[in-house]
Amino acid sequence: MIDVAALKAHAKSLLEKGSVRAVIGYRKSTAGLLAEPATIADADATDDLIFDPTCVQNLALYLVNDKKERVHSRSDDKRPIAVVAKGCDSRAITVLLQEKHFPRESVHVIGVSCEGTGVVDARKLAKKLDGKKALSVNFDGSEAFSITTEDGAQSIPAAEVMAERCLECRSAHPTLSDMTFGEAKSERALHAPFQAVKHKMKDEQDNRWAFWARQFDRCLRCYACRSVCPMCYCEECVVDSINFAVLPDTTADEKADRIKWIERSPARSETAMYHMVRAIHLAGRCVDCAECERVCPVNIPLRLLNTRLEMEAFETFEYNPGSDMNAPTLTSSFRDTDPNSFIR
């Protein structure tokens, strides 16, 4: 179990010493069950930090956002920023470092191991509690959550309300950190890795298309999946071009000639394109934090789509995203033994 008091003390000492600009962590949310991400720059406010099974967000995203903000900032504070990172978050940070998105010295990683339990899935929990509102969720040993409702506390086996990704998690212990809290316990193996994808792959191809067509038809193109993904940091996204300014003297020819890969209309074909482009851009980069799936307002199983190529990366190319910040990325490397038989 994580010693949250020690976590708070570590954050406090970092801020008091002034060795970091701020600490990105979790605090109790004012609305709803799930914890909220917080950027704490004041040593006294570190008491707000928590770590419990409701800390589902991937905080690596805020490192990317921080970098964006600092481009326009006038401060020349070169100190690193500290971030609380679970196993999956630390893998995301490793991928960002591997891609040289920011230098290693600009971030201080406070690793927290989710050990045997992982984090909670709010939808599963609501179903489990039959509509009763959970007030708090805490770790209860290494295999259960202690859940408080207005009827009092109860202990529920973690596997029943754990997020899907945590069931399949291969490394719950942070792979990259400057300071780690919690036990070095990585193998959870409640479900075989890529179980959901493999199950879907057994389906007939036509049925699979019918399934995905139904999912893509629902998409609102709100781009929440893109906004929440720490790997989606492109300045200009393929779906909305910001470099093409339509001015009064822009001719019809110029407008017609611009490359428009994907239309903005939420038609099935365009939505399919959008999600497939995202999936292919995440190949060998997706750390399976499943944030895209969690934030989707229409419950598109995006994790299923994105982990398909992760499975290929892991099983065919023996590549595990976020395991080594000095290794070449999946698509910038090759082996002589790569599959060749599919080519005529």
């Binding site: 393929v238 038609a267 394109m273 789509l305 790569d338 080519i343 005529r344």
Partner: protein
Amino acid sequence: MANAVETAKDETGFEPKIVAFLCKWCSSAGSDLAGVSRLQYPSNAVPITIMCSGSMSPMFVLSAFNKGADGVLVSGCHPGDCHYLKGNFFARRKIYLVQKLLQFVGLENDRFRMSWVSAAEGVKFAGVVDEFVKDIKKLGPQTRLKAKR
């Protein structure tokens, strides 16, 4: 020879549109060779020359399907023969991933294909296109990823 022309028309009158991305150094020259050798093969493939199969963006594939291609062919130099030494090795890995994704989403397997065609293999290029056209004719028009415009 005459057979190849006849097979291009079947009873439904469906003529597949195939977009062929050919690398400048091998496959483009291979398709040229097929032309100058006067080989008869279906004219369904629209060749687009790219500098290297390694420069092939997955976007090109998806976009071609989106704009109504019935099939997409990517063709490059044989492994070890790349003009840029290792471009086709990168391509192999990338195209493999794109193919797996397309299959997972439910596009028919035969619609996306990769081949190695060298500058001397005009006959092979004609064969690859011929086979591709035959396979796609069995599947009919591609409707799954095509934009309704």
